[in-house]
Amino acid sequence: MNHHILSVLVQNRPGVLARVAGLFARRDYNIFSLAVAPAENEGFSRITIVVDVDSAPLEQITKQLFKLIEVVKISELDPLRSVERELLLATVRVSPEQRGQVVELATIFEGKILAVGVEAITISLDGHPDKLDDFEELLAGYGIVELQRTGRVALPKLDKESRLRAVAHKGKAG
């Protein structure tokens, strides 16, 4: 999938997420993942959306998003120039003999063992989504009982020049 990451600053008002989600559905744009949380300044939230740009040109997506009244700023994060993180939780079926192997895998990936049962083990791993993909694939061999990923969040890499390209920003009126 050809993806792009949009970091969308929105006014934190009821229904904002429904508006954003509704826009994607209505215009037939695909969301690959979505994460929402309060932003640094009060009254605002940041929505990190990974969009499938095969479904529509990114420019149209950002312009349509920008028409939503609560959307204040949209930044496009170039995957090469941003840090991306995601969290994975997985419960894997393991026999007591296999447990060691899975613990070793988790250690190699710098994951954490959250709970151990007789026939299952729950692991958490955070990191770059690609790393999580690899880990998930390896776990699949043992049998995943339940798996939950958060969807990615991202920030621009701290470079000398700002890597954050504001594609749309509504400045103060004037």
Partner: protein, 582 residues
């Protein structure tokens, strides 16, 4: 000053300058109807909420001021969905107020509860559920600001019953407070100077330019600026269905309507152009036909206040985000400056003579009926047009009669044409005409309707009679859902499926009379003129004229859906010379 939420709501509407609103009360909105009794605002009681919405639209169309509708919760709110969507598609400023169940009952599936904000989210420019009485003035101010600025559109305020009943301390937010409360809403009105220069350069260099003008010109109140630009550059203008009247039809540079049922010259001028100067138009599929074959040699200048229109359908060479009037004025200045500093104008002489050749060979035409034959709908329209009092506003429904209206009327003044373009809402015309007449009581308002459309919202003629709003309705009655019949005849081997209405039911004259109108039936060409004269002379009640017209008549030219504009079908008599459209 302590007010109830209901009083604050009505006072806020007064403060916004609302003179008239359209609506119908019910349980949840009841508290707001009480202070209305003491208000300066005229309320027009409709017979169906959809009517209130279309009336608000008609009012907004002709006045440029936002239309206001107020209805209750649940079924009333859902009845409002069609007009909201209609206004959204055609960028009509409109503010709708809906009642909602009390805040304590929200989410419990209470009586007449529905998720109004959820249902209308995708058909409004913005909507909001107001949860405290104190917030009502701000919510009203925001709604009006959003509805009327930038690209206009409908907004909705959903107000729970207890919010209307609770008390609040009256305050009226300042302009600055309203602007600050909407940090994500900053419409850009001034075009980028570099882009405007770029556009001026292209215009002067073009040998086959066309001004492709859409409804945005009317929203921007830019008709005068457009005329100045067209005359100064001597460039022909096509006006889309939404822009009829934005440039006078009797102006030598006016080519009229392009698109699916446009005239051959307007369609072909776009098609062969080397520069589309696109002003407040959006490359709708009804204009472009098959996009990949649309105006293949043309560069595109695209002026629109909505940045999302740029590149949505056709990639512009010069995108200009801004208000059409301001941008055109800047453009005129830029062209003048360039000419003064010696930039030559390309020779458009050959292009002009091609255009006049097409105009001569491909006028709109239909076969007049022989004596004793059925009445032609186009003839009725010509007669309506030629006998219309100065300044008449024409409103239409959706279907064949709409296309003939746009084709055969002569629009020489902006804001004299009201129709449902984007959504194509059958049932639009009667209520929209009522709204238009309320907005411009000094004007004659004719609604041209189909017999199918009329039956969807005719009950509002009762509203018109009771409220003394003397509109005139011409039903071009072909006993069919005519436009659908035309498609079935042409594209489904004349297999007519569910398009035949009834020639005798309803009796439109009796129905009109039952609703307090004058009803007139017209069967033959000789009766047309007297009927129109009579209708035009009546000014104390609505009039309905039932023109019994030839059901076999089809709208031409036609670009079949999904085909390119070069595949247009002309009237039979012109088909043999179609090759001249080169």
């Amino acid at each position: 000053m302590k007010l109830t939420g209901a009083q604050a709501l009505i006072k806020s509407l007064e403060m916004e300058g609302v003179e008239v609103m359209f609506g119908l009360p019910g349980g949840c909105i009841l508290p707001a109807y009480d202070p209305l009794l003491d208000s300066s605002i005229r309320h027009i009681l409709v017979r169906h909420e959809q009517g209130a919405g279309h009336m608000a639209e008609g009012y907004a169309h002709v006045t440029g001021r936002p239309g206001v509708a107020m209805v209750t919760s649940g079924p009333a709110a859902t009845n409002m969905v069609t007009p909201l969507c209609d206004a959204y598609m055609d960028s009509i400023p409109m503010v709708c107020i809906t009642g909602q169940v009390s805040t304590t009952a929200i989410g419990t599936d209470a009586f007449q509860e529905c998720d109004t904000v959820g249902i209308t989210r995708s058909v409004t420019k913005h909507n909001e559920l107001v949860m405290t009485a104190q917030n009502l003035p701000m919510a009203v101010r925001q709604s009006f600001r959003i509805a009327t600025t930038g690209r206009p559109g409908p907004t909705l305020i959903d107000v729970p019953k207890d919010v209307l009943q609770n008390s609040m301390e009256w305050y009226w937010p300042t302009d600055a407070e309203v602007v600050d409360s909407l940090p994500g809403y900053r419409p850009n009105v001034k075009g980028h100077p570099r882009m405007i220069k770029e556009a001026a350069k292209l215009i002067l260099a073009s040998e086959r330019p066309i001004l492709y003008v859409g409804g945005g010109i009317l929203k921007a109140r830019a008709a005068d600026a457009l005329r100045e630009l067209a005359e100064m550059t001597d460039i022909h203008v096509v006006t889309t269905l939404m822009a009829r009247g934005a440039f006078p039809d009797d102006h030598p540079l006016c080519l009229g309507m392009p698109g699916m049922h446009g005239n051959a010259t307007a369609i072909t001028a776009l098609q062969r152009s080397d520069l589309l100067i696109t002003l407040g138009a959006r490359f709708d599929d009804r204009i472009t036909g098959k996009v990949s074959t649309f105006a293949p040699d043309a560069k595109v200048i695209h002026v629109d206040i909505d940045p999302a229109e740029q590149g949505k359908v056709r990639r512009p060479d010069v995108p200009i985000v801004g208000d059409c009037r301001l941008v055109i004025e800047e453009l005129i200045r830029a062209i003048r400056d360039m000419e003064q500093s010696g930039t030559p104008r390309a020779d458009t002489g050959a292009w002009k003579s091609r255009i006049s050749g097409w105009r001569e060979q491909f006028p709109l035409s239909y076969e007049a009926s022989e004596p004793g034959e059925a009445l032609k709908p186009q003839y009725c329209l010509e007669q309506l047009r030629d006998n219309a009092p100065e300044g008449t506003i024409l409103v239409s429904g959706v279907g064949q009669h709409q296309m003939w209206s746009s084709q055969y009327w002569r629009f020489n003044e902006p804001y004299t044409w009201v129709n449902s373009g984007g959504l194509g809402t059958m049932g639009f015309s009667v209520p929209a005409a009522i709204g238009a007449k309320v907005g411009r009581p000094d004007r004659t308002v004719w609604a041209v309707d189909g017999d199918g459309c009329f039956q969807m919202t005719a009950q509002e003629l009762v509203t018109a009679s009771v409220e003394r709003i003397p509109i005139k309705v011409a039903i071009l009655n072909n006993s069919y859902l005519g436009m659908v019949r035309q498609w079935q005849e042409m594209f489904y081997d004349e297999r007519y499926s569910e398009v035949y209405l009834s020639p005798e039911l309803p009796d439109f004259v009796k129905w009109a009379e039952a609703m307090g109108c004058v009803g007139i039936r017209v069967d033959s060409p000789e009766e047309v003129q007297p009927a129109i004269d009579k209708a035009n002379s009546i000014d104390d009640r609505p009039v309905v004229v039932d023109f019994r017209v030839d059901a076999r008549e089809k709208v031409f030219p036609m670009v079949p859906a999904g085909m390119g504009n070069d595949d247009l079908i002309l009237p039979d008599s012109q088909m043999p010379r179609k090759g001249a459209l080169k």
